[in-house]
Assembly symmetry: C2
Homo-oligomer: 167 residues x 2
Amino acid sequence: MSDSPPSLNPVQLGAYFDLIEVTSLLRHAVEQQLRETGDLSYVQFQLLARLGDSPTGSHRMTDLADGVVYSRSGLTYQVSLLEKEGLVVRAPSPDDERGVTVTLTGAGRALLAKVLPGHVEVVRSLLFAPLASEDVETLAGLLAPVRDHMRSAPPRSAAPRRRKGGA
Amino acid sequence: MSDSPPSLNPVQLGAYFDLIEVTSLLRHAVEQQLRETGDLSYVQFQLLARLGDSPTGSHRMTDLADGVVYSRSGLTYQVSLLEKEGLVVRAPSPDDERGVTVTLTGAGRALLAKVLPGHVEVVRSLLFAPLASEDVETLAGLLAPVRDHMRSAPPRSAAPRRRKGGA
DNA sequence: TATTGTTATACTCTATAACTATA
DNA sequence: TATAGTTATAGAGTATAACAATA
């Protein structure tokens, strides 16, 4: 009962709220830009961007699912949409017949290129504008360990069951 | 098209990606906890929490809409759900007959109390665990100006200098 | 038997537009 | 006319579970 403090301290609370609000607003703005410029949802953009980052322009479904956080069926749905638009192609993986390799098409790459500058501009003007470059470094330095920590403690086990003393 | 640099610098890019990933994972974990513990969506929790913060336990619809980013109809929808569950009550605002005042019920307050410790625990274990307390202060200090900046530059005008004829 | 991916389905959420009523 | 809120509706997105094919 008393092993779980009822609240975060004020600084933590502020940081948490601001984090939520900042990313919520940023996300909103970015989604609007992506929708207007390329008729893409954020998830779709993330998928294209991830493929674009790859030297081969392709990834297996599983890899994509790992990167973007949701279910396999959701991924299939989104990739189907992208394929319908001609932005990606699906083909059986050469090494593993069960697998499916998704590859960015020329059109996909073009759309990515079309959308990217505006995307960057939104992020810069909203997120980075009020920060000095050393602030950005500091921020990056703070977020990296958090990200690593979260990755190693996956959301599946979301609510650590009162790990003290055990219930 | 040449006035907009094609990319952010690597540090900015890292900070941006980590920010997105961190909040995405955090959100996921928190939503799961809220769903399991109180059958609440994150938005619903935010609404209850906002009401709980108020000394009177109530807010006008407009105030709630300002805090949570959605459309008015979306807010009406969510508040209707909460009312159906007996967590809030709606009544005409005393001062302005057009307005509606939403008030937290005892059940709403109880649910909030039931859900809060686990919520806090998730945030602490996922977000704050890897950070020293001075790191948290630094983080808060960085996010506050960004939040202020974003608030003053609302998402409606998301993409600065955007073309006409979109949408 | 475990893994990869798809399908079918059901449900939640969100936005737009039309509408009512008060200011 | 402008503002506060609701309703109707329509569409997108997501998760779950059952399924087929390969390892």
